[in-house]
């Protein structure tokens, strides 16, 4: 098993600063913006982006949290069922521009589930996607509007995003572990 750091705390700070600026640039009317983080690590990322936007534009953007467990397409085949966490969308999203925030974009299936979940909360004007890492291997026609870093990866690699709020440290690492044969 090998481990390589691809994003340091300083890198992460700058990346989130850039994404916040891009969101401001793209959305002329910031009053219509809602940031929605996907459980677990999307939530603190959304909060940091909102804090950045607030400091650049002195405007506070509502931040929500979304759990997609109940919308997953692989629910029936998972060995361990996901722990359902509470979703919390603080404002009506009708007619709003919603920016979904997640740590890693991979197959695109979580984003599909998240969009289905959002639609049950209302009818947003549009949905945009911000991710810290895009690692490729899409299985659905999904692309991100804001990308922290592209990391072309192999399926044997694991991209581990750690955040101060959830893991005590800001860091992104690639862990290479060639498919271990699990003992029966």
């Amino acid at each position: 098993m090998t481990k390589k750091t691809v994003m340091t705390p300083e890198d992460m700070r700058r990346t989130l600063a850039r994404i916040a600026h891009e969101i401001i640039e793209r959305n002329k009317v910031l009053g219509h913006l809602v940031l929605v983080g996907m459980h677990t690590r999307g939530v603190p990322l959304a909060e940091r982006l909102a804090a950045n936007i607030a400091s650049y534009e002195s405007l506070s953007i509502p931040v929500g949290a979304l759990d997609i467990s109940l919308y997953r397409d692989d629910l029936a085949s998972l060995e361990l069922k996901p722990i359902v966490q509470r979703s919390d969308i603080p404002v009506s999203i009708d007619g709003k521009s919603v920016v979904l925030v997640d740590d890693v974009l991979y197959t695109g299936r979580s984003i599909r589930a998240a969009m289905d979940a959002l639609m049950d909360f209302g009818r947003p004007r549009d949905i945009q996607l911000a991710v810290l890492i895009d690692r490729g291997h899409r299985e659905l026609p999904v692309r991100a509007d804001y990308i922290g870093k592209n990391i072309p990866s192999s399926r044997d690699e694991e991209i581990q995003v750690q955040l101060e709020e959830t893991d005590g440290v800001d860091e992104v690492t690639i862990i290479y572990a060639p498919a271990p044969k699990e003992a029966p």
Partner: protein, 335 residues
Amino acid sequence: MSTLRQKEAPALPKNPDATAKTPVWRHSHILDVDDFSPQEIELVFSTTDAMKEVLSRPIKKVPALRGKTIVTLFYEPSTRTRISFELAAKNLSADTVHLSTSASSVTKGESLIDSLSTLQALGANVVVIRHSQSGAPYLAARYLEASIVNAGDGWHAHPTQALLDLYTIREHKGKIKGLKVVIIGDILHSRVAHSNIWSLTTMGAAVTLCAPPTLLPAGLGHEQKHFPKVSLEPDIERAVESADAVMTLRLQRERQQSGLLPSLREYVQLYQLNESRLARAKPDALVLHPGPVNEGIEISPGVAHGPQSVIDQQVANGVAVRMALLYLLVGGKSI
């Protein structure tokens, strides 16, 4: 003749790994709460929190159990429990079928095993059973591939009611551990009381029982190997003293006819939860009742509808708790 083979009784995996990040859910059936670990009950609580949020949305439906079939098989009348299960299943997008025994082949003498065999052949994923015989759901679990949920069996257990009672208490008190919970009434014949005693003590509450001696299980109060430790206090005023929650039980009128009570009037005099007795509990004590309520018998109308009563919230929380349990049973791996 039944086409079903009896399955080997699947033993629950021992020692759930308490250190694992993901709490281990070990149950493929919900028969009683006596084999639930505190971690499992906490997982039910946190999942219920998420389900309550779903119920607060404009569209109260999520696709988690799409394609699953849930059958409610009720050999005893019930309104709230059956409707609660049905709504829970529908909110999770499962298909539900209700089999009422008065309108089915049961009236032609079909046995429980044969009815279950038919449900299995029709592809039920979950069978919710209410039966007047204690242990009927256990029998079903031995024969059926589907997950069995006990919605009340005889005098034995009513696990989903107990979990919704605990959830309602936790919602108000923030915890269960260390609370004094008093259960008043016909403990002997109450499956709700039995399941509550198990789950409350598992979560660290101190349970006090208050009932006429004829309506208490024999041997309580002594050290018991197969029953949780509870306190007995036949005097209702002493029993509710500084309680955090008081639960009264429905008194079946048959109890008097069968000679277990001298008269209803005496029961009301000695065991009814009324305003003056409730005043001895903590000022913020909760009043619970599993329903249906006999107003004026086990509880006075003023208490049943008073500010401390959470009886309606119990019913509302029932849907969310049952959604959580159905998700935990069949939401993960397919069966």
